[in-house]
Amino acid sequence: MQRWTSQPLPVPRHPQAPYARADLELHDVEHDGPSYHALVYFNQADADENTGRAAPGYAGSFSVFAHGRCWGDRGHCDPPAEPLHPFDRRHLHPLTPINITVEVTRALRAVAGDTIAVTVLAFPALGSDRPAPLRFSRLTLVTYD
């Protein structure tokens, strides 16, 4: 299991406009390795594999249905950094990082303070050779009026 905790985030709420929904967005999630499942907690930096979904601070979960083993030759699973030239009209490389959205409305409403720290526990699927599969560039907390 891999544990990662964010820096404190300000809760994006407006006193005159209660939000109808809140999403946690993980950006540029890499999926070139084995698949995994992840649990998300708010202000539960000590959460572990025994914490579960009924615990205070549980916000949601997601799976990353990932590439798995590479069957190709060397370089097959390395997305190019950029198109070869302006006329490169090929599809994006299959391993281009993705965005993941987790709906967290109920969990965010339960947060009493003005900041939250997001903890993500990632559980690699059986047979995985990568104990720390969770890799992404940033996360965003978005509320919708």
Binding site: S35, F65, P124, A125
Partner: protein, 297 residues
């Protein structure tokens, strides 16, 4: 390419729709036909065969779309072409769906079956198309991957179905889809190998059915206009051409209904949508394809 089929532009096609059914409602004969079709496809090592189509999704072609705006359209046309390949082997066979909103296990049809010792729906190997690579498939590990919630996924599915835009629906249903893949385990848990498991197609028939049901609840809600004329790999069917399953020649039993027309004898009672998934029919003398003027849809 021998399997390329172009959905005709212009007037709607007229013909009898194939009905996809819940795997739990297949008759013994329908299940036997499905297994015969898969076995036949697995015996072909060319571009009509199972390995070729499994390779569309993962190794070696990698044409699938995940966490992009084309997830649902791409997989709809994928099932369409694969189902045609099966129907070329066993006419009339259709892909059943696995309803993991009510089921907490892998359908028996896809497991060990004493009546079918060589059940082709029970994955046994990954044979990469035209590569010479062939390996035994590790067994499925349903519910054993750590952290993954147990089936059924009724609540998550309901939440996805409540979406009010196509983009929101697609994002939500793909997340449920990801959970099911990882829940099943084995080769289903990774994109590269997933479609080599026949269960993949029952899972994706459920995803496609979900989109069809959502479409009936949200008529006119489509992908972004800028995407509609995008061609989907490899055959170039456009997103627009995937929007109406009846124009692809199929429907999901349970969303179809039939009513007698004005020329029917004695005002036969209409089948309800709930009845449709268990209805049976037999061709009569001079049986013709159903058309809208005959009261079918």
């Amino acid at each position: 390419m021998t399997l390329q089929v172009t959905v005709p532009a212009g007037p709607p096609a007229r013909g009898t729709l194939s009905l996809r059914k819940s795997v739990d409602k297949l008759s013994d004969a329908e299940l036997a036909n499905l297994r015969q079709a898969f076995a036949g496809a697995m015996a072909l090592d060319d571009d009509r065969g199972f390995s070729y189509f499994a390779g569309w999704h993962g190794e070696p072609f990698n044409w699938c779309e995940h966490h992009t705006s084309l997830f649902l359209p791409w997989h709809r046309q994928y099932l369409y072409y694969f189902e045609l390949a099966l129907q070329a082997i066993v006419p009339g066979v259709t892909l059943p769906w696995w309803d993991w909103t009510v089921s907490d296990s892998i359908p028996a049809a896809y497991g060990v079956d004493s009546r079918a010792p060589d059940n082709p729906l029970l994955v046994s190997q990954v044979r990469i198309y035209r590569s010479g690579q062939s390996e035994p498939a590790p067994p499925r590990t349903p519910g054993q991957n750590p952290g993954v919630p147990p089936l059924p996924y009724q609540d998550d599915w309901n939440q996805a179905m409540a979406a009010t835009s196509f983009a929101e629906f697609q994002t939500a249903i793909e997340q449920v889809h990801d959970n099911v893949h990882v829940w099943v385990g084995g080769i289903m848990q990774d994109i590269q190998s997933a479609a080599y498991d026949p269960l993949f197609f029952a899972h994706h028939a459920m995803i496609d059915r979900s989109w069809r049901l959502w479409q009936t609840q949200n008529p006119g809600a489509t992908p972004a206009a800028t995407l509609l004329d995008n061609g989907l790999r490899p055959n170039g069917m456009t997103v627009r051409q995937t929007l109406d399953v009846t124009q692809l020649g199929y429907e999901y039993a349970g969303t179809a209904a039939e009513a007698p027309g004005p020329t029917a004898p004695n005002g036969t009672a209409a089948a309800t949508p709930a009845d449709a998934s268990t209805q049976t029919s037999a061709p009569g003398p001079g049986d013709r394809p159903h058309t809208p003027s005959e009261g079918s849809f």
